[in-house]
Symmetry: C2
Subunit: 477 residues, 2 copies
């Protein structure tokens, strides 16, 4: 299916629909066209900036009538180029950035209703002001927007206790590729009336419609909060520690992040203000976050019980517990800076994978051996959300290697790492999605029947093929 290349007159009709809030042709800023890692640069005849759901509906109505492709974009922080228009095509970019109104905050009903263009940190703050927690938390929270979080079913660091976006969203407002508006802004925790349309739009990366608003869940703020860093000899010990923590803490275990020594080194070396919080050096570290609804004492007792038992059993070799909010923030900052800390070290080939939790040590050992055999001197910085089985298996280039030559081995490394992931029944995209980056690989690794069912859904929702085409799935001819 081929999309229409809009004439200047047709582009102008689109621009008129948003009252001139648009950038056209050469005016279009790079910040809309280049994704965070610089791997993709898209092209577009225009960026449209609608003010509300009615303008979005008008855009999609005109697009479906004329066959022009529309690419929705929220904060442009995605890692798989789902939000970037196709290079060389004539996809019009629909930016949600002007739709950034928080529509309602209800601390009794524990919900917040927000435009899809709201920045995540603004939603967190709005919740905070009514003494509630919106738990989604990720490195880019200062610039990512909730519509993108929803469209990628974002995860982040609090999934262990609170779940992904699917678990944090009660209702949606979506403009369909036909221009029709689905008002599914329900505030219900339980609703078994027909098929689960909400979870179909969440994680669809804008290929089934444009999410324009959402009802999000709020939670009581924990009264106690403890963060600790544990030094460990092996990934096996980290897994055993996670199992103890999980049994001891239940749902009060709000974070369990694995970090390798090289990640700490990169962070201390490359991120201003980060210092090694321990005086001893360890091959692996676990960042442990415990929240207690009950009291600060309760969280403290639990952390104390966990760590003292683990040190006694020689599972943990050293541990520190943050003693102030500033120290807690510093430990989390070190963890969240790991992505950024790799940049000055040269090229980095990244994988966002998940395996069953019990398989993490075997996966890591096998992947490390295969990668080091292929690229001697490669610096493997594998870290992430151990409690979710989700590892960001990143490979920094050998010291002094040629950046471009190293990055040219991206597909080869993907094949190695993803092959091992799949042998463990894992996923090649735990939280970042598919977009353009992993689209062809998705078609290879998922069963034919799965791709076929997805294609049938895509065609049923977007018969004209105008909605973010060729992302996730290649549009069928």
């Amino acid at each position: 299916m081929t999309n229409t290349v809009p004439s200047p007159a047709l582009v102008q009709r689109f621009v008129d629909l948003v009252g001139g809030h648009a950038e056209v042709g050469a005016e279009v800023e790079d910040r809309y066209l280049v994704e965070t890692r610089g791997l993709y640069r898209g092209t577009t005849p225009a960026v449209l900036k609608p003010a509300d759901v009615a303008e979005v509906a008008a855009i999609l109505t005109l697009a479906s009538e004329t066959g022009v492709a529309i690419v929705p974009q929220a904060g442009n922080t995605g890692h798989v180029a789902g939000q970037i228009p196709r290079t060389g095509a004539a996809d019009i970019l629909l930016s949600l950035e002007r739709m950034n109104r928080i529509r309602d905050v209800d601390p009794v009903g524990n919900v917040i209703v927000a435009d899809a263009g709201c920045i995540l940190a603004d939603i967190q703050s709005a919740a905070d002001r009514v003494d509630r927690l919106f738990p989604l938390s990720l490195g880019s929270e200062g610039s990512c927007r909730i519509g993108g979080n929803l469209s990628t079913n974002a995860g982040g660091t609090a999934v262990l206790a609170y779940g992904n976006m699917r678990q944090l969203c009660l209702g949606l407002e979506v403009v369909l590729p036909t221009g029709e508006i689905w008002d599914g802004l329900r505030r219900l925790k339980k609703d078994n009336t027909g098929y689960d349309l909400r979870d179909l739009f969440i994680g669809a990366e804008g290929t089934l419609g444009v999410i324009t608003g959402a009802v999000l869940r709020l939670f009581p703020k924990p009264l106690g909060h403890e963060v600790a860093l544990a030094g460990l000899r092996t990934v096996e010990n980290a897994l055993a520690l996670f199992e103890r923590a999980s049994t001891l803490c239940g749902q009060t275990l709000t974070g369990f992040e694995l970090m390798p020594r090289i990640g700490i080194d990169f962070s201390v070396r490359n991120i201003p203000g980060v210092t090694d919080p321990m005086t001893t050096v360890h091959p692996w570290y676990a960042l442990i976050d415990i929240s207690s609804a009950d009291s600060a004492e309760s969280a403290g007792r639990t952390m104390e019980a966990l760590l003292s038992g683990a040190i006694e059993n020689r599972l943990v070799d050293d541990a520190i517990v943050a003693s102030s909010e500033a120290q807690r923030k510093a430990l989390w900052h070190m963890r969240e800076s790991l992505s950024l800390a790799q940049r000055p070290e040269g090229g980095s080939i990244k994988h966002d994978v998940s395996v069953p939790i019990a398989s993490i040590p075997a996966f890591m050992a096998q992947a490390d051996a295969a990668v080091m055999a292929a690229i001697p001197g490669a610096r493997i910085c594998a870290f992430g959300h151990m409690g979710d089985g989700n590892i960001h298996y990143n490979i920094s280039q050998p010291v002094g290697a040629d950046r471009r030559a190293f990055l040219e081995r991206w597909r080869e490394m993907n094949a190695i790492v993803h092959g091992i992931v799949l042998a463990h029944g894992g996923s090649i995209s735990a939280e970042h999605g598919i977009g353009q980056l992993k689209r062809d690989e998705l078609a290879e690794v998922r069963h034919g029947i799965e791709i076929d069912l997805m294609q049938r859904i895509k065609h049923a929702f977007d018969p004209a093929g105008i909605m973010n085409p060729d992302k996730v799935l290649q549009i069928r001819p």
Copy 2:
């Protein structure tokens, strides 16, 4: 679309596919054809009892080739007749009862893999034997089967802390209406690779395919467990108590059930062994369940803090805390017997609704007034999962009224109660689903665009219209 009425020879071909494990014609037992409340009696040429997924696939392949409709049935405990063949049609019933094998129990990975025909209580026991909790719990757990729980996205009494079936399921095995098998038995907590097929099959009530197996989540067993009963003057006070409990306990609040005095009366009068646990009488009661991952002491302290504060503030008028496992079970038994306790009181018109939690008092007051105006003397027994906004708003007939005449007002009462539910942005089926009972009403209360999207999905998955037709949605001509 009209389904084929199978000839005796064609019925025999189906019977041969399951090696003769079938009941044909007049042999078919009532237990397959009549649903729990006796509102529906279906007709069928045959009940097939396949042994495994391959036999299910063979049945659906033949059905799609011949146009014969197939109705999957697990434990036949559903309340909306989704599992009952259409009356007067010639739908073949596919019983999952012989597929009751637990395929794997993995306490390290915290998963259990089970055939769809496993009885819920057997899955709970298998988890218990490896010191884990499978938290789904409902009145019919001794006879309902997990395939039915999945197909209706079952809720029950632990949704507050652990969620519905959607949150308790990691992966599915499904036979599609074409006979193809989708092996989606993944064990991953995070997997963002394409559209959410799993959550589409969960809650689809067997209209998109037959769920034959599932990967279910297990949890560490709580170390502390406290159950209390609080006597309250008003629903408003119950709501205020829930808010306090929710703030104080966070995710350790594992149950908060509302019960009216009349429910206690029915239960004491009609259920052998149930006695009123309190010496004082109250218009309303809250059953509060707190679990602690930490220790028995911690759960006890939290319950004590919650109740003493609430009594001091005159929110709660009296309270008892169960002091033994037997007492805890007795309190839960009283709550779970409320449905059964209504039977000897004559006809009961039932509603399974949800509203935003903060709207519960207003909904109850408005519904009570409207129902009592329509049927003076009606005995309203509204109880349920207050923490989820889910009320089973049941109306027992006036004392001495004619049962049949009362039950003939089912639709009229539905219109009254559901009208008020919808005015509060609520759902007409919080956990029981749509099936046959609420199908026509669904088409009225959901937006046209929602029904249209569901129809498009149905057609994309089941073009021949053979998969549990006319449930949830009316098959389009």
